[in-house]
């Protein structure tokens, strides 16, 4: 389509040029195309009109585009204007000059001198002819005089003689009616003379003679006319006798015909033709000017319109790649990085487009890189955040004004507060945090005041958390170990970082260890003197009893009894201490845990198969027991004696907890096989032993320190029960958990993970199979 259009354009341009050329050529008179001048004029006019229409169409479109503020229209217009000016101005200049020059030069052809010279030439010719005519006239008159005296019958002879003597070409005598009387010529072969033309005869009728030069029209413009001199004079009336009788004779005429001498005729003709051509030119100068003017104007119009049209289309072509580039720039601006179609030209525009594409490619790559970096950063941020939020330690980050910027989940759970809304505000705005933040700020201030070389401070402190408003429990105190760092980025501080841990349990464990040591030593030191004290007291009583008065003896016995009793209880206490402090090392063996539980339960009045009716046995108070032992538990590794004590302690605690409830209090005992925790070996299940009661449960304060010695809720008790339980369970590699049940009451769970080695069992079964095979 474009190809077709281009070909059509080229053909149009060529034919336009050809038309113009033909038009210019046809202005010449001699041109072969002269007679097509009108047609060419019309064709050129049509061509110019078509160009004009094209130009108008292009211009209106451009103007409309400018009105619509279409991108690039202004630039196109500017280009087009420049090009059109370049085309039009020289054309108009040349046109003006040519028209001026042409009209001046045409006018300059005609001036009075040439005019009068030609006129004079013509007159000269006329004069020459006139003198020849006068000469002929004289000859004719001489002849006439002679012929008048000649009788009719002698006229032909006389005529010939006279003609020969005068040297005239043709001589003729004829009557007024046109009848030939006599004729003589020096031309051979001309028998019948030519009568004078009607015009001559007409003139003869009116006048006395005729004398003129005649041109024989060649019939062709510019042809060579033959010039003849014709003189006709009347002959006198014949005064003859014989004619008296005859009617009055017609007038007779003598005609002399003589060609003008060749040279004179030639020159005269040339002068005449020159005159005629000059007159023709002079008459036609207006037409000539019009002719050239029209041709020039048409040429100008064609050139101007063609220039404008070419300018418009050329500017469009020139601007198009620039516009494409600009559009590409805009597209890049809104994030479209598609490459532009590259023009095949190897010029600067093409190069520009290619560089532009290279630039957008690089931009695109850079953008992708930034994007991927950002995503990576986000991922690592998310990772860090997840690490931070899964960190059990509390992390708090403050800015320079101690406003919270970051707080992690660990901090919230340790401080037991929802700190998500505090971000951007000081921590003091949260209820109950005043103590904590004051300590932290003080620590930072002190650290800064000390000017320590260390980058961080570390401090252990206790805070008391404000209990929830609806809670009845006393405020809970936490022991925290906190480390703080002044964050420095680029050499200036921009925040504070505090990391803290709840070390309440660690402290508690340390206390346990310390207590164990204290108890062991104390027991050792105290137990030694107890026996001698008891023995001494008994001996005193034995030896002195008989020697005293009954009154004194009674007092002695009372005192010694008191001593012995008190020593006994001291011993008991010391034994307990020793028990706690110096548990004998566990002797591990494979045991059936269910059987062990059943044994201990039997002491509390429970019998297997009997679910609901605990029988009150001798000396043992009745206990409401719900027992649920999962059958088929695997054997576990453990010390039966120690485990028995664990079970006993727990049951005893439970029984004490429900003691006040009477028949309503219940204790629930279960054993369960727990599947192994996720991520660990599937062959490692665990056994869970749970004792739950319906008693008051643990108070918050007790819960934290329940495993420490001498922490008890009972009126009498050493407070060592749970401490011992934990010690044993830890030695068995198990876990113990205290919790309050939702429906009230306490629950203690023990997870025993050390099962009896399976390999042994499997070996045994394998051996049995082997045996079976050999039998």
């Amino acid at each position: 389509m474009r190809m077709l259009l281009r070909v059509a354009l080229i053909i149009g341009a060529i034919s336009g040029l050809a038309l113009l050329g033909l038009l210019a050529w046809s202005t010449g008179n001699a041109s072969r195309f002269a007679r097509y001048y009108d047609t060419l004029l019309v064709l050129n006019g049509i061509f110019a009109l078509a160009l004009f229409v094209w130009v108008v169409a292009l211009t209106t479109r451009l103007i409309r585009q400018i009105r619509r503020r279409q991108f690039g229209a202004r630039m196109t217009a500017r280009f087009a204007l420049a090009f059109a000016l370049i085309g039009v101005v020289p054309g108009a200049l040349i046109y003006t000059v040519s028209v001026q020059f042409m009209s001046r030069s045409i006018e300059s052809w005609f001036n009075v001198r040439v005019d009068s010279a030609l006129e004079s030439g013509l007159n000269l010719g006329r004069a020459a002819l006139d003198s020849l005519l006068a000469d002929m006239d004289a000859k004719a008159r001489a002849m006439a005089a002679e012929l008048n005296n000649t009788p009719d019958r002698d006229i032909p002879l006389a005529l010939t003689r006279l003609r020969e003597s005068s040297g005239v070409q043709d001589v003729m005598v004829f009557t007024g009616g046109g009848r030939l009387v006599a004729f003589s010529t020096d031309q051979y072969g001309q028998l019948l003379p030519e009568m004078p033309p009607a015009t001559v005869l007409n003139q003869l009728r009116l006048g006395r003679g005729y004398s003129a030069a005649e041109a024989e029209d060649a019939g062709v413009p510019g042809g060579k006319d033959r010039l003849l001199l014709r003189v006709v004079i009347p002959l006198g009336a014949p005064a003859r006798f014989d004619s008296l009788m005859s009617p009055p004779s017609e007038p007779r005429w003598l005609q002399l015909l003589q060609p003008v001498p060749e040279q004179i005729a030639d020159n005269a003709n040339r002068v005449q033709q020159g005159f005629r051509d000059y007159q023709e030119l002079a008459l036609s100068r207006l037409g000539l000017r019009k002719l050239y003017g029209i041709t020039l104007t048409l040429a100008l119009l064609l050139a101007v319109f063609a220039a404008i049209a070419v300018a418009l289309s050329l500017s469009k072509r020139l601007v198009r790649p620039l516009l494409r580039l600009a559009a590409g720039t805009q597209a890049v601006g809104v994030g479209d990085y598609r490459p532009l179609p590259e023009p095949p030209e190897r010029d600067e525009i093409g190069q520009l487009t290619r560089s532009f594409n290279a630039m957008t490619r690089q931009l695109d790559e850079a953008r992708h890189m930034v994007e991927s970096n950002r995503r990576q950063l986000e991922r690592s941020n998310v990772y860090l955040e997840s690490v931070l939020s899964n960190l059990s330690s509390g992390v708090l980050v403050f800015d320079e004004g101690f406003r919270v910027t970051t707080v992690n989940q660990g901090a919230q759970s340790i401080l037991q507060a929802d700190l998500r809304s505090v971000i951007g505000r000081p921590l003091e705005t949260v209820d109950g945090m005043l103590e904590f933040i004051q300590i932290v700020r003080q620590a930072f201030a002190q650290h800064a005041a000390v000017g320590s070389e260390r980058l961080h401070w570390q401090q252990q402190f206790e805070i008391t958390l404000a209990p929830p408003a609806d809670a009845t429990e006393p405020p809970q105190s936490l022991t925290l170990l906190a480390r703080g760092t002044h964050l420095r980025v680029d050499g200036r501080g921009n925040g504070y970082l505090v990391v803290f841990d709840d070390i309440t349990e660690v402290i508690s464990a340390n206390r346990t260890v310390a207590w164990g040591e204290v108890a062991r030593r104390l027991a050792h030191e105290i137990k030694n003197p107890l026996t001698p004290i008891q023995l001494s007291a008994e001996r005193l009583a034995m030896k002195l009893a008989d020697r005293l008065q009954p009154a004194d003896r009674q007092m002695l016995e009372r005192s010694t009894n008191t001593i012995v009793n008190q020593v006994g209880s001291l011993k008991q206490m010391v034994d307990d201490f020793r028990e706690y402090a110096r548990t004998p090392p566990a002797v591990m063996q494979s045991i059936d845990f269910n059987a062990l539980v059943a044994d201990v339960l039997a002491l509390y009045g429970w019998e297997p198969g009997e679910t609901d009716k605990p029988a009150a046995r001798l000396g043992v108070p009745a206990l409401n027991l719900d027992v649920e032992l999962e059958p088929g538990l695997p054997a576990i590794e453990g010390d039966p004696t120690q485990l028995r004590q664990v079970i006993h302690n727990l049951l005893s605690n439970a029984r004490d907890a429900i003691a006040e409830q009477g028949p309503q209090g219940r204790v629930r005992v279960t054993t369960q096989l727990m599947p192994s925790p996720e991520g660990e070996d599937a062959a490692q299940p665990a056994v869970r032993f749970t004792v739950a009661d319906t008693g008051p449960g643990f108070s918050q304060k007790v819960m934290q320190r329940a495993f420490e010695p001498y922490v008890t809720t009972k009126a009498h008790g050493t407070g060592l029960g749970l401490a011992i339980v934990r010690k044993i369970i830890e030695e068995h590699g198990g876990k113990i958990d205290l919790a309050n049940r939702k429906e009230g009451g306490a629950r203690v769970s023990i997870l025993l993970t050390r099962l009896a080695s399976k390999a042994v069992t499997m070996d045994a079964t394998a051996q049995e199979k082997d045996n079976a095979a050999t039998q």
């Binding site: 002269a34 005649e214 029209d217 005269a268 003709n269 023709e280 002079a282 008459l283 036609s284 002719l291």
Partner: protein, 192 residues
């Protein structure tokens, strides 16, 4: 032949007195058209009112040859197709002044005759006589032929600038409008 000559009739001539009758007197027009049959040929006589304007007269007196051309078209209508053109011919007069001999010549075709004045020369043009058109044998009897005639100053024979002049100057575009006429041939009555 003779009989034909005398009795062949010229039946004819009704022609429109041409719209020019009502037009202005100095407007060139075809005043009369008379097709006649002489010697077995259809001939045309016509009277044309045409006068030279000053510019043309001046040009002629300066020796510029003037050409006058009469265009004639005779056609026969055909209901089933375009009209058949029977005659399409032109006749050109040349009027020229010889400045040297101070003589006028005028004539149609090659032949020119000396005339005494320009008006006499124009008379030749105005009175068209014996314009032989076509053999009667080529025509059919009883059929109505319609024709058109006009006379114009033939600028195409002039030099180029005059042609350009003629393009936009009324004095150089002298012409009569087309005059319509129609005729038909009656059956010759043979007296013998």
């Amino acid at each position: 032949m003779i009989s034909r000559l005398c009795c062949a009739l010229l039946l004819v001539f009704l022609l429109l007195p041409v719209a020019g009758g009502q037009a202005r007197a100095d407007e060139p027009r075809v005043a009369r058209i008379e097709p006649v049959i002489r010697d077995g040929k259809l001939e045309l006589d016509a009277e044309i009112e045409i006068a030279l304007n000053d510019q043309l007269r001046d040009a002629a007196e300066r020796g510029l040859p003037l050409y006058f051309t009469a265009d004639l078209v005779i056609s026969r209508s055909r209901w089933w197709w375009f009209d058949e053109t029977v005659v399409d011919t032109t006749l050109t007069w040349r009027v020229v002044y010889n400045a040297l001999t101070r003589q006028w010549r005028a004539g149609a075709g090659e032949l020119t005759l000396p005339v005494s004045s320009l008006d006499q020369a124009m008379d030749m043009v105005r009175h068209i006589r014996n314009w032989q058109l076509v053999d009667v044998s080529d025509l059919d009897y009883g059929v109505t032929y319609s024709g058109q005639l006009r006379l114009r100053l033939d600028t195409s024979q002039l030099a180029r600038p005059f042609q350009v002049n003629a393009l936009n100057s009324s004095s150089w575009s002298l012409a009569t409008p087309w005059a319509d006429f129609s005729f038909s041939l009656a059956e010759p009555r043979d007296p013998s």
